[in-house]
Symmetry: C2
Subunit: 499 residues, 2 copies
């Protein structure tokens, strides 16, 4: 090993230690820190984050990366180290092009904007948030101008979350999906709906936690390399493949929400646990592409978890753990977990209408960055699209354009990755059926872990080494298309709703 | 504020941030880190600990402390800052007298000794641990020679845990206690014992957790400034008065153990939450004296929690939460939580025999450091004292001299502080009765929080500002004595056992 490589590995270790501390502080703030202790933890996080930022943008690191990027050194590196040098060098170059003054002003503005959004949502008053949103849009454009001069802003943003993706590709597949989804949703909404009333009752959070443990075990989540906790919104955080952390939130009046969060986060978690150990400590040791990561959580949540057969081997045990479900048959449960509704809130949406919620957000982001539509016109645009695609009009902006936090901190371009995850899943479903035969039969036999092994060896093992388009090409053997997802929806819901 | 003071305050902030990270890493390792993730957390802890150690022994800190210790600066400081400068300067001077080579050798030897102890305990083979124990004794002596040249080693050790305490004082009060305790225990053991069989059953850990929440609320633990979790052994850790953390361990076959751990750790926690906020970030912001800290956890656990009247207002709710207790009357419960037995294991002991377990350890530490008794003779000495004081002989060393981990890492002088805590409690019981009237009446009315307020204003508020002897003098108005504790035992158990 060259001296430069050795020095770089040591540097990476130190940087990882600081990043671990920042993750741990965040984890603790979400899951454990009591209300009055929050500020001190936040102060510590600010301080250690700035230490980590200084480490990740130092002259010392730049010199190491430049030395290792030189052809004679680079060719000696293994695949993981080449990826590391390439990725870190690009990120370092980008962030060093951002003027320090601008960077700090953006941090401050972002924090003010997040607070304004919270107040605006609470008051359901878009005008409180509008000037901050304008500011976030302008500063986002300015930042892209520094990091990627001359590039289309919205493509730069999409690339942040799903590298290699651009709006031309997304336009094509979202349009394909939208054309199929709108009439399907209309037909479903016109059909007789299941009765949710039977689910009213009290479901003890401790019992829901026991169901979560059962589900995670059933899916193949390794408890020796993972842990679960509670937080206001469920999330997954991986320190390494040996320490993957999931949270959940248990609503005592609704057992279905936590069940599907458990499966969803469990899917992210299983991904994290099955990455090649050789990638540990590199930027490829967890999947950096939101769409690919979401495809795994959603594969478990939707393709597996919303399949009737997934429940056949375990529904009896779930009923034992949750007495409130004892008078609900497997069929009634199955209908309810696939209840399609034109709801107002994205995070409450079923798997079918979910896509339309995302397409609305994508089209509004296009309106902002490509068509330069003024901010004050966005709420009306939102409501019009809700009406056109989902036949429902938000009664206020809190349940309309103000519902999601993403735009408040400038995370434009993030939303599409959720739907890309679903679209990838249609493709993966085709591929897995090709390799393992009928998923329905596998599930009826309780063979979820067979699916986990397939996902592990085809997708999880590679962490972030392969770009999304490469993953699709190598796993599915063809180009990305929304058709498999649409076919899955049509087949499943035609039967379920007797369309 | 002088420039030096300002620089010192900034330095302290930085040091506190590193100490917070180390506490957080430990907290996480005990409560959350999964088995396979443990090593990486331990590596991070080693690294950040050495960073904190470097910060706390730096030349820069020494210069700041020396400048602030100079009379013209020192006199300008407030009480908390004087304490801080005095304490940190003394500790820095001491640790800088330890040769670096010796320090590192001690760290390594300690870690080997802890491992050897674990193996020896598992195999119940003292000979595996003996050479390490000899080494711990010799290195402890050597370290005391550096930090406190010319001083009696065992007094230096006692001072580490209970500043201002020496073996002359402890000899006197432990002897006083022992003379009263041995005949009392003999009388109790000869009396008819309650029947523990009725408690056999299954007690769901989730239900036990609900009882813990009830108890903490009842005692006045503030959930906005605290949090609870689970770990193998219960403990308390305070990040600040606004973030105090307790753990528990729920045995599904024994509800009493977790109930009393909850009350015990709750007592430590309430102490931490009620320290004067002006002390935050100084070494006085938590009580540094183990005996005083233990006196608070034990006051709640024993003086309050083992009083029949403590349970009158809440026993019905406890039975609702723990159905296994529904056929057990309050009187039966009260008898069982005060069941005096000559058990082998200190941590299982009742409040009466507990003192004898500690006195045995104290006398053996005296044998080691004052009388230079060879290590190989210690197991026999232990067993002889168990026979003499508790009328029981350990069947093996695992349940004898190998049971506690304290000596394996060189924590000699720690044990006495547990019993000092009990002895202080006898004194505090006298003082609180003087100020508030009969504790029995207060408790029967559910007024635990009135007691919490008294302890808060008389003891907790001062954190570590006052030395143990000062606390006793100011709160109790007289010198330390074991008589109040003995009187409490005699009165309570004469009635309970119809002696």
């Amino acid at each position: 090993m060259s001296q430069t490589l050795e020095a770089f590995r040591e540097y990476l270790k130190k940087l990882n230690r600081y990043n671990r501390i920042n993750s741990l502080l965040s984890w603790d703030m979400y899951t454990a820190t009591p209300r009055l202790g929050y500020q001190s933890m936040a102060d510590a996080l600010t301080w250690f984050s700035s230490e980590a930022f200084a480490l990740s943008t130092s002259d010392e690191l730049q010199k190491l990366l430049e030395a290792l990027a030189a052809p004679e050194e680079y060719e000696q590196l293994d695949e993981a180290m080449q990826f590391t040098v390439r990725t870190m060098k690009r990120e370092l170059d980008e962030s060093r092009r951002i003027p320090r003054d601008f960077y700090e002003a953006f941090v401050t503005a972002r924090s003010a904007s997040m607070q304004a959004w919270q107040e605006a949502k609470k008051a359901s008053d878009f005008s409180l948030f509008a000037p901050h949103l304008e500011n976030m849009i302008e500063m986002t454009k300015e930042q892209c101008g520094y990091t990627h001069p001359g590039k289309e802003v919205y493509d730069v943003l999409l690339n942040q979350y799903e590298e290699g993706m651009d709006s031309a590709a997304i336009d094509r597949i979202f349009e394909e999906l939208k054309e199929g989804l709108i009439p399907l949703v209309q037909k479903i909404l016109a059909a007789p709906q299941p009765d949710s009333e039977k689910f009213r009752g009290y479901y003890d959070p401790d019992d829901q936690k026991k169901v979560q443990d059962l589900l995670l075990d059933y899916m193949g989540f390794n408890p020796d390399a993972g842990v679960t906790s509670q937080s206001e919104h469920p999330f997954t955080m991986a320190f390494s493949r040996n320490d993957v952390r999931l949270t959940n939130n248990y609503d005592p009046e609704n057992p279905i929400s936590a069940i599907f969060s458990a499966i969803h986060e469990g899917g992210h978690g299983i991904f994290g646990q099955n990455v090649n150990p050789a990638l540990e400590g590199t930027p490829a040791d967890d999947c950096r592409y939101m769409g690919i990561h979401e495809s795994q959580s959603r594969f478990y949540e939707n393709i597996l978890g919303r399949n009737r057969n997934f429940w056949i081997p375990i529904y009896g045990r779930v009923q034992e753990l949750l007495p409130g479900l004892q008078h609900i048959s497997l069929d009634e449960f199955y209908r309810e977990i696939n209840h399609v509704q034109n709801s107002l809130i994205r995070t409450d949406a079923d798997e079918v209408t979910y896509g339309l919620h995302i397409i609305i957000r994508y089209e509004i982001e296009q309106a902002i960055f490509r068509d330069h539509v003024p901010v004050k016109e966005l709420p009306a645009l939102w409501n019009r699209k809700m009406k056109d695609y989902l036949q429902i009009t938000p009664p206020d902006d809190a349940r309309g354009i103000l519902q999601d936090m993403h735009w408040s901190d400038g995370s434009f371009g993030y939303f599409p990755s959720y739907l890309l995850g679903n679209i990838y899943d249609g493709m993966f479903l085709e591929a897995i059926t090709r390799d393992l035969g009928s998923l329905d039969s596998l599930l009826a036999q309780g063979e979820v872990k067979t699916v986990t092994r397939w996902l592990g060896s085809h997708i999880h093992w590679y962490g972030g080494l392969r770009l999304p388009a490469e993953v699709i090409r190598q796993v599915c053997g063809r180009e990305l298309s929304a058709a498999p997802l649409l076919n899955y929806f049509k087949e499943k819901y035609t039967e379920l709703y007797h369309l």
